[in-house]
């Protein structure tokens, strides 16, 4: 297990390294000098000097590459032209918001998706399965930002059940410093998280249903019934434990979906996260922010896959035991 983990970890680091390298060359493909575009008049001469030494802008390309690597490792992602502050600082402000949104969406995604998928598999072919199955297929096919717009229109504008955007009420709760403001924050979180979570749940449900159906027709499920177990125990213990294994893979796949979706959903709901930061940066041609966000997102995706692999190994005795003895 330990060797496997080390090898897996090394592979992940290698991938992130490759992404960093690609990012470096993308920055260099940009018109003008990488950190000194036309907009650099925004920067003070002092900042320019600092950037120049930090990123070695006057040195050769290989040297610049090494400096870039060193800076990335140290968490220095360069300077945002538009925001006039280091990219890392801007990202650090936005990340918690994106994480909260992604986490809430992930919970909705899996809680709803697993429950629905199990329900559909148990009722396979009956009305409940067909109706919810086609519903899931439809939601799964919706552009996530459009679903956000529709939910916003219906629940935010027409019914006025939910706020129309932002992190919290700017007048009453400019910062999260009281329990009431905590609730206000959750209230603002509901619609964006639901938007992202619903689309994810539709896909998770389809996956879970298929996995469950695949397991239900296996011999050991019949064995469990022949033992005299309750149908609930047969399905929710014997079948589900096996059907959750492929879903762990889905957990890894959820990360790219969540971060991609976050870019769009944050824009719809004016949610000040990493995605919105990146999108705004593009319009200002502030590409150190864009590449920084891309880099960070890729790292998250790789981390998500790593977590999924480890979970899988822990959950499946066939892998766990083999790698222990190996």
């Amino acid at each position: 297990m330990a060797t496997w983990l080390v090898r897996r970890l090394a592979a992940s680091i290698a991938i992130v390294f490759a992404v960093v390298t690609i990012t470096f060359f993308v920055i260099h493909a940009a018109p003008g000098s990488p950190f000194l575009p036309a907009e650099s008049q925004h920067l003070t001469p002092e900042t320019l000097r600092r950037l120049s030494t930090e990123f070695g802008l006057d040195r050769s390309l290989p040297e610049q590459y090494l400096l870039f690597l060193r800076n990335v490792v140290r968490g220095n992602l360069g300077q945002s032209f538009a925001l006039r502050r280091p990219v890392a600082d801007a990202l650090a402000d936005a990340i918690p918001n994106t994480f909260t949104l992604a986490l809430a969406a992930l919970i909705i995604d899996f809680a709803l998706g697993l429950a629905l998928g199990i329900y559909q598999a148990v009722r396979a072919g009956r009305v409940g399965d067909v109706v919810s199955g086609n519903g899931a297929l439809l939601v799964n096919s919706m552009p996530v930002f459009w679903l956000g717009l529709v939910l916003l229109l219906v629940f935010g504008q027409w019914l006025r059940w939910a706020p129309v955007g932002g992190l919290s009420n700017p007048v009453l709760c400019p910062r999260l410093d009281s329990p009431a403001c905590g609730l206000d924050f959750l209230w603002h979180l509901t619609l964006p998280a639901l938007t992202l979570g619903l689309v994810g749940a539709a896909s998770t449900a389809r996956y879970q249903r298929a996995a469950m159906l695949e397991v239900i027709r296996q011999d050991f499920v019949r064995t469990a019934r022949a033992k005299g177990l309750r149908e609930r125990r047969v399905l929710l213990v014997h079948a589900l434990r096996n059907a959750l294994l492929p879903v762990i893979t889905l957990f890894g796949l959820a990360f790219p979906f969540l971060f991609t979706g976050a870019v769009l959903v944050e824009t719809v709901f004016a949610w000040p996260g990493m995605g919105r930061l990146a999108v705004n940066a593009i319009f200002q041609r502030d590409y150190p922010v864009v590449t920084g966000a891309a880099l960070l997102t890729s790292a998250m995706v790789v981390l998500g896959n790593l977590i999924a692999d480890v979970l899988y190994a822990v959950a499946d005795p066939r892998i766990r035991v083999r790698s222990e003895t190996a």
Binding site: K227, G228, H238, D316
Partner: protein
């Protein structure tokens, strides 16, 4: 005469197949008894409905596509299993009647230890504590001849060989001391040497625990060594039924003859033993299209007009009353027992 433990009457289990090909009459009017403590063999080629028969007894047929027709009757210890509510049925499954399956490689749950899987039935049916159930599991593993049971109890199925897993299946089936064990081709998936060991084990445990065994196989050779009585199935029906010795000495149905001829026999004259085994020409038809008349007639060397037109009933073949029955028109016209050219 002793009361039968299990009484199956006119069992019909059909499957509605998807689109076009019609209804599969997998089991079509099967009748037999199992007496307490005896071993009844059910024999027939693959596709004759043996598995469906055994699954029907515990109502493990997947519904849909399958269903047991009204008019069927399965009585166990005086109760009709087909009318029990789910709770009563569960109290019998794994407790009074247990089952082991053909495929030891896939019949155990891969994500639970064998100990947990054996203990589960004891916990569910006998309300014993987890610790007591665990020691019962260890005891059962020892009983079925698994070395180092204290250690093996925590192993997962994939860490065991096929023969070991079948022993685990037997341990799991017997942990509640059932009155009836249904063994559906318990050795088909195993090596020949392991086969003999498993059959011996079942025999030994049957003697120790005093249970009845319904031993299902496609191999008459297996039945010869273990069963007291034999039911021969073909095309969803019982075609012959007799005490084992009678069946081997005086097989009356041409299908039984054919099956017997394809068993390598140690007591047969050397010339025949060395020669190629005779087997029955053709194969079992699809359950959606059983032939008209006698279902065996297209493969039967003796078939004549009547066999093609009329379906024979189960006829008494003499001997001790009610012991030997055959579904064949030859019984009414024995002179025809000479094969066509």
């Amino acid at each position: 005469m002793t009361e039968p433990l299990l009484r199956v009457r006119d069992l019909k289990t059909y499957f509605v197949t998807e689109h076009g090909s019609g209804t599969a009459r997998a089991v079509d009017g099967v009748t037999f008894d199992v007496l307490p403590g005896e071993t009844l063999g059910i024999v027939g080629e693959s596709g004759c409905g043996k598995t469906v028969t055994s699954l029907s007894i515990l109502r493990l047929i997947p519904e849909p596509p399958g269903h047991i027709l009204p008019g069927s009757f399965i009585e166990f210890e005086g109760r009709n299993l087909l009318t029990l509510d789910p709770r009563e049925l569960r109290a019998i499954r794994g407790n009074r009647i247990a089952m082991i399956f053909q495929e030891p490689m896939t019949s155990l749950n891969p994500v639970f230890t064998v100990g947990d899987q054996i203990a589960e039935a004891a916990i569910v049916h006998h309300q014993v504590s987890r610790r007591a159930a665990r020691s019962r599991a260890i005891e059962m593993l020892r009983l079925v001849g698994i070395p180092d049971p204290d250690e093996r109890v925590d192993h997962y199925p994939h860490q065991m060989s096929g023969g070991m897993r079948q022993r685990v299946m037997i341990a799991m089936a017997l942990v509640c001391r059932p009155q009836l064990l249904i063994a559906d081709e318990p050795t088909t998936a195993l090596d020949v040497t392991i086969q003999a060991q498993i059959l011996e084990l079942i025999d030994r445990l049957q003697a120790e625990l005093g249970m009845a065994v319904l031993l299902i196989t496609h191999d008459l050779g297996i039945v010869a060594g273990s069963a007291d009585r034999v039911v021969v199935m073909y095309a969803g029906q019982v075609v012959e039924q007799a005490p084992t010795a009678t069946l081997f000495a005086r097989p009356l149905h041409p299908y039984t003859e054919g099956l017997l001829a394809s068993v390598p026999r140690l007591d047969a004259p050397p010339a025949r033993a060395r020669g190629r085994l005779r087997s029955i020409p053709g194969q079992v038809p699809a359950a959606t299209a059983w032939p008209e008349g006698c279902r065996f007639h297209p493969r039967c060397p003796y078939a004549w007009d009547r066999c093609r037109a009329e379906e024979p009933p189960l006829l008494d073949a003499g001997g001790e009353p009610g012991t030997h029955a055959v579904r064949c028109w030859l019984l009414t016209d024995p002179r025809r027992r000479t094969p066509h050219p």
